[in-house]
């Protein structure tokens, strides 16, 4: 292993990258684009849900209930339907996501001390949104119901007081439950996975395709030196991207970075080494750039997007899929990122994740060196 040869190779690779400014620009702009898109584009919380109402009674009380829907920031009234088919059309056509129907005799029933049922029809095509809307609707109705009960008791003489049970919720790490704080740290992983594997696998596959790899092999460099020399420039690019991602999250999106920068740097470099080596392995295995890009897509982008816990919680996946997530390093990196950013976690709780990433890098690195040597023969 000679440092001089590695550096020479790294220099050659840097010149090659430098010669294609368009790709370089794309690579350096990618973090910004992904950050802006995912940081702003992924909001899972809902406000101003389009609401349509059909008030079959039209009494003071029923209007009061509708008012408490509208005065709430979660709903915005789109349509006051005059009949049932109108309401159904609005939901079928997607103009409204939720339709509230107040029955006939609504205020009469309540006035007589009877329960009255309000119907909420929800477009559950997007069931996550539907779930949130059901929660909001229930909260509005429950509050209204409590008011009606209080009124009734005051009018009909002091009945017996009711206990008030409240939930005193404290949210840690992401106090305002901002989905941005939850999404943005994970984007770093997405960017690095894409850059790491896509770029390396394609550049090296290109050397094979064009036959320049044979020229390289005929020089005295050893396989390990080739791997190291080729990967150093991409490692630098990847770390630059990680840095700009972190800067955007902290300064632009104001995601708190509660942990140590050093730990962030360490976790990022271990992860980056792993994905770069994976890119090398793919390109050593796949013959063409087309095949390499397909493999890279399957083994890095999809796992980083779907199986990392970046947006979709891992503990809700079926057992078999959960086992699959353990193979890919993105999962550990996202855990580490969220821990460092939001929880301010130190090295101890993250040790297993770091270990897992390191093991991945070592295994893939060994496989890459092995595979590469075989191709040389």
């Amino acid at each position: 292993m000679s440092l001089g040869r590695i550096l020479a190779l790294a220099r050659k690779e840097t010149i090659q990258i430098w010669r294609d400014p368009r790709s370089l620009a794309v690579v350096l702009l990618m973090p910004m684009m992904l950050m802006a898109l995912l940081g702003y584009g992924i909001g899972l919380d809902q406000t101003n849900v389009p609401l349509c109402v059909y008030d079959r009674e039209g009494s003071q009380l029923s209007q009061d209930l509708l008012k408490s829907f509208v005065s709430n920031r979660y709903f915005s009234l789109k349509l006051d339907a005059g009949n049932y088919p109108e309401l159904i059309d609005a939901i079928d056509g997607g103009q409204c996501t939720v339709g509230v129907v107040i029955p006939l005799y609504f205020s009469k029933l309540l006035g007589a001390g009877q329960p009255a049922t309000v119907q909420a029809i929800i477009d559950a095509t997007d069931n996550n949104t539907a779930n949130l809307i059901i929660g909001y609707t229930q909260a509005v109705v429950a509050r209204f119901s409590a008011g009606v009960q209080l009124d009734y008791q005051q009018r009909n003489g002091p009945l017996l007081g009711a206990p008030a049970l409240s939930v005193d919720a404290r949210t840690w790490f992401n106090e305002d439950l901002e989905s941005r704080n939850f999404i943005v740290p994970g984007v770093v992983a997405l960017v690095m996975a894409v850059i790491g594997t896509f770029l390396t696998s394609l550049t090296i596959a290109r050397e094979w395709e064009r036959g320049t790899m044979e020229q390289l092999v005929s020089t005295p460099v050893t396989p390990l030196e080739i791997i190291a020399g080729k990967l150093i420039p991409y490692f630098v690019i990847g770390m630059a991207d990680a840095l700009s991602c972190a800067a955007i999250s902290v300064w632009w999106f104001e995601v708190p970075l509660r942990g140590s920068y050093l730990l962030l740097f360490a976790a990022s470099s271990i992860f980056l080494a792993g994905v770069l080596l994976l890119g090398f392995l793919i390109s050593a295995y796949a013959k063409t750039q087309l095949a390499a890009s397909q493999f890279a897509l399957l083994t890095t982008f999809l796992p980083a997007f779907l199986l990392s816990g970046f947006a979709f919680p891992i503990d809700q996946m079926p057992m078999a899929v959960r086992m699959v997530t353990r193979i890919f390093p993105a999962r550990y990196y996202v855990t580490a990122l969220k821990g460092i950013f939001l929880k301010g976690a130190g090295i101890r709780p993250l040790a297993t994740d770091m270990m897992a990433m390191a093991i991945f890098a070592i295994v893939v690195g060994a496989a890459a060196a092995c595979c590469f040597r075989k191709r040389l023969d």
Partner: protein, 377 residues
């Protein structure tokens, strides 16, 4: 002219089919993607890992806890003895949620005072936290109402019969059990189609350029329009084949109902694929190397999926991004997919989506043809 196009189509098919790895990548990765997307893309909140600290040890506190367990949303992982354990468990990410019932809870409930349950949530995943909090509030409210009802029944059975109450009856339409799969599987069909078609076509022309066969084609009497048609028709057929494969997996494996007409689905898919082919070819004509084509098409795919409403509701994006979504063909296609699969609505409601996709396809195909005739000169 038709003969020339036909010859070209035959040539493309031979080219795609000759390489066993490409052949493999046409069939296996899409199926893997659908299955992984179908299982992993999931916002369901079930069995949230929960720790319980019951400092009251009363009938009431036990009843409340058993209601949490019975709801199915929470899984009790730990029963704790003192508060310090909560901090540790949540810090390490062992549990997402801790329920803390303070001493004197039953006393307060019995005296009709203000009782409260303390809940500590890990807000790192804001979506899970938000939905779990909704469930907790519902359970607490129901418990309080039942408690009051019981009490009245014992003390004053006559008065208990008169208890005004507004009940909410939720009707989630189109996805009665609020299953995430119903929402994500149709979306997956669109996303996987997009990834497949784009990566295939983005390489279509640039590969010929890199290998040098493009010059050979240029010296033949073929015209740009014929060239573009010859390039698109095979990929169109491949994409339709993919559609059939993934939809079959969706209907048979994930048991998503197909309530609408398959003809509408086919028509929409043709328009969508045409738009993708246009974009892919446009990228291909603009790139010098396959690596560039890959990077640029990734630059298109990632925003297109994020902004399509695939997993993240468009209505909660900022206005600028909402405008951008109108330029995203996947946005229109997903509406058609979900409406035909889940709602079964017809063309009378879906025509704006068709118009959107038709415009997109017309623009990109024309641009690709123009761009290509320019590169010929």
């Amino acid at each position: 002219m038709f003969a020339r196009i036909w010859q070209f189509v035959v040539k493309e098919f031979i080219q795609v089919w000759r390489d066993p790895r490409t052949r493999f990548s046409l069939i296996v990765p899409p199926i893997i993607q659908v299955i992984i997307f179908g299982y992993a893309a999931n916002f369901d909140v079930h069995h949230v890992r929960t720790a319980v600290l019951d400092q009251d040890h009363s009938l009431e506190s036990r009843e409340l806890i058993s209601r949490f367990v019975a709801s199915g949303y929470f899984r009790i992982e730990d029963v704790l003895d003192h508060r310090a354990q909560i901090v540790d468990l949540i810090d390490r990410g062992q549990v997402t949620l801790a329920i803390d019932i303070l001493p004197g809870f039953a006393e307060r409930m019995r005296k009709r005072g203000e009782a409260s349950v303390q809940v500590i949530l890990d807000g790192t995943n804001s979506n899970t936290a938000l939905i779990a909090l909704g469930y907790i509030n519902q359970i607490a409210q129901r418990y309080q109402q039942d408690y009051q009802r019981d009490f009245l029944n014992r003390i004053a059975p006559v008065a208990a019969r008169r208890f005004p109450q507004v009940l909410l009856q939720e009707r989630p339409w189109f996805n009665r059990n609020l299953e995430d799969r119903m929402f994500f599987v149709p979306g997956t069909i669109g996303s996987v189609m997009m990834v497949m078609v784009m990566t295939l076509t983005a390489f279509a022309i640039v590969r010929e350029r890199e290998i040098g066969t493009l010059e050979q084609i240029m010296v033949t009497p073929i015209r740009p329009v014929e060239f573009i048609l010859g390039k698109t028709i095979p990929y169109m057929l491949i994409a339709l084949f993919e559609l059939a494969v993934i939809s079959t997996v969706g209907v048979l494996w994930f048991e998503v109902p197909l309530r609408g007409s398959p003809v509408i689905l086919l028509a929409a898919s043709l328009l969508f694929i045409a738009g993708l082919l246009g974009t892919g070819l446009l990228i291909s004509t603009m790139s010098n190397t396959q690596q560039q084509a890959m990077v640029v098409s990734f630059f298109f795919i990632q925003p297109a999926i994020t902004l399509s409403g695939f997993g993240f509701p468009i209505s909660s994006m900022p206005p600028v991004l909402q405008w951008l979504t109108y330029a995203d063909p996947l946005r229109y296609y997903l509406v058609v997919l979900r409406s035909t699969f889940l709602k079964g609505v017809g063309l009378d409601l879906l025509w704006p989506q068709f118009a959107g996709m038709a415009i997109f396809a017309a623009v990109t195909l024309t641009a690709a043809a123009l761009r290509f005739s320019k590169t010929l000169d």
